[in-house]
Amino acid sequence: MANQTKQPALYLAEYGTPNTIAKAAMKVRDAGYQKWDCHTPYAMHGMDEAMGLKPTRIGVISFIFGMLGLATAVFMMQYTNAFSFNLLNIGAGYPLVVGGKPPGAFPPMVPIIFELGILLCGLATLFGLLYIIKLPMHNHPIFESERFEAASDDRFFISIEAGDQKFDLERTKALLEATDPISLELIEEEVQ
């Protein structure tokens, strides 16, 4: 491509200890940034408070889809097995007597209601999670940084993305410099 230009993607600040990154995270949080993240070699207790993370919404998604699966199973079986009414002119139900039980008997439906509820709940949790954590994502400008490889070894990083409303080349840089990072780099990405 002939006319490729570069634009800032994110600031990446590097820290040597869990304590320094936790203090830095609190400063970034208090400054009101939204699109930013911490990258640590291991899960750190207390980081969600230091970052001001809100509780995840995944439970709500799971609950809604679990209930949806439950309702679908109840309706499907009651409609096809129990009633002979003609709903919305799409055909009559098909009352079946199995094992001498009444056609609308609830107990044998419970396992299916349970299974369909679990199925939709599980799938919704998986795909809801993928959506929330923005996967699949094939590349991210943060991998432009050579230093960032140490995030899986012994270094701690804070990244603030340029997409953040408060992002400002000068002020964000000043904020991060004030937190005493080992290194601070601006990562740019190519745009066509």
Binding site: A43, H45, D48, G59, F63, G99, G100, P107, P111
Partner: protein, 445 residues
């Protein structure tokens, strides 16, 4: 650990918990008097079994929870484990209170197991008669056997509508006599009690010794013995449920029965641990050693076991409902007719639907006053559950003072001991090598 330095994790000489054992003791005496004064001999047997078994489930749940924590080498529950251990340490009290019951049944003073006891005692009749003719003569033959067989005959008639059915009923019972006979029953009962006392006292004793010497080898030993201990526990609990509860309806059988009792016990001990823990926490007796993170974990397990209880209970019920075999359906028939239908529905909504909806989210589990109310409710439902297992055998739904009295007597004695014990020991296992990690428990979600 500044908190720990200030706080010795003991109840101390004054305050609510130093005198808490008085209240259950008073209730026990009052309940015992009420039960003895108001009940007839037959009802007292059922009522005492109800009180005894309900109380025992808390202790059994405690044994399970302690063993499973050592089996999994978990650290989340270390700081709340002492409460469970203290409840578990009431095993000798349960054993002492069970001995009169076992003795009463063995000596024929308690007649609630007459159905199989009489068949076991007069088993020869079965072979002497033809199977089909026998049905008509069972009631008659038993009518000559002893004092209580008048009731027996009426009972036999009520549930066996044809001679063929009566004969089948009797044939099943006579085939069970190798297991269901008075001597075997009593010997097994004493065996269960010995096993429970051994496990409970050993684990409580080791944990107490670790408080003083802080030796991690106690933990290693308890972990090693946890697996065989759990196997022993599972077998004894299952067969105790068979012997004491399932054999009330002597011809009936269900292999999942013990699992249902186990699930209920686990729910009960978790709710009780949360309640005692909350009370200690609110009075500042455990400092921050048991905090909202630990209650969150305990309530999650309680929620899970309430669902598990529903799962196994429903499995048993649906299979029997689907097959519709009279021999199996009698048990549910008794627990459905005569006013018991309401109790069955109460269990469905109270033991499952209500906790399921009202304890589902993180917010609900971490709101401690809310959690406290739910735990009281769940324990109440557990008591109703055991009541529904036992009392339909005595007739229609009719709560008698004797039932409540017997529950208060056994439960009160047990908890008087447990609360007294709680005042004597550190409220967290201060010598456990995993305690430090448990103190810093943190729920990411």
């Amino acid at each position: 650990m500044t908190e720990a330095n200030k706080n010795d994790y003991r109840v101390g000489d004054d305050g609510f918990w130093s005198r808490a054992w008085v209240a259950p003791l008073v209730l026990a005496i009052a309940g015992g008097l009420v039960a003895v004064l108001t009940a007839d001999a037959d009802r007292l047997g059922y009522a005492y079994l109800f009180g005894l078994f309900t109380t025992a489930t808390f202790m059994l749940g405690g044994i399970f929870l302690v063993l499973v924590q050592f089996l999994t080498a978990s650290y989340w529950g270390v700081s709340s484990r002492r409460i469970v251990e203290v409840v578990m340490s009431g095993a000798p009290v349960v054993a002492l209170l069970a001995l009169p019951f076992i003795g009463g049944v063995a000596l024929g003073k308690i007649n609630i197991y007459d159905e199989w006891q009489s068949v076991a005692a007069h088993g020869d009749h079965v072979d002497a008669h033809g199977t089909v003719e026998l049905g008509a003569s069972v009631a008659q033959a038993q009518g000559h056997a002893g004092d209580h067989d008048g009731d027996e005959a009426a009972h036999e008639e009520e549930h066996s509508h044809t001679p063929q059915e009566a004969a089948l009923h009797h044939e099943i019972l006579s085939k069970k006599t190798a297991y269901l006979n008075t001597n075997g029953w009593a010997a097994r009962g004493i065996g269960y009690l010995i096993v429970w006392c051994l496990i409970a006292l050993a684990y409580f004793g080791w944990s107490r010794r670790q408080d003083d010497d802080r030796d991690p080898r106690h933990t290693m030993r308890m972990q090693r013995l946890a697996a065989p201990g759990l196997i022993l526990f599972a077998c004894t609990l299952t067969f105790a449920a068979f012997d004491w509860l399932m054999s009330l309806e002597a011809a009936w059988f269900s292999t999942i029965f013990g699992v249902i009792i186990f699930a209920g016990s686990a729910v009960a001990i978790l709710a009780l641990t949360i309640l005692i823990g909350l009370s200690l926490y609110k009075r500042g007796l455990v400092g921050d050693a048991i905090n909202v993170e630990h209650f969150h974990d305990l309530s999650r397990l309680m929620f899970g076991f309430a669902c598990f209880w529903t799962y196994v209970h429903f499995s048993q019920w649906m299979l029997i409902w689907y097959a519709g075999i009279p021999e199996e359906a009698t048990w549910f028939h008794r627990r459905w007719e005569g006013g018991w239908q309401f109790v069955a529905y109460l269990l469905l909504f109270g033991h499952f639907v209500a906790p399921f909806i009202l304890l589902m989210s993180r917010v609900q589990k971490r709101a401690l006053p809310w959690l406290q109310v739910m735990c009281f409710w769940v324990i109440l439902m557990h008591i109703v559950d055991i009541y529904w297992f036992i009392m339909p055998q005595a007739g229609g739904f009719h709560v008698q003072l004797a039932d409540i009295g017997a529950l208060l007597f056994v439960g009160g004695t047990f908890f008087a001991y447990v609360f007294w014990q709680l005042g004597r020991v550190p409220l967290v296992p201060v010598g456990d090598p995993r305690l430090q990690r448990s103190l810093h428990l943190h729920q990411i979600y």
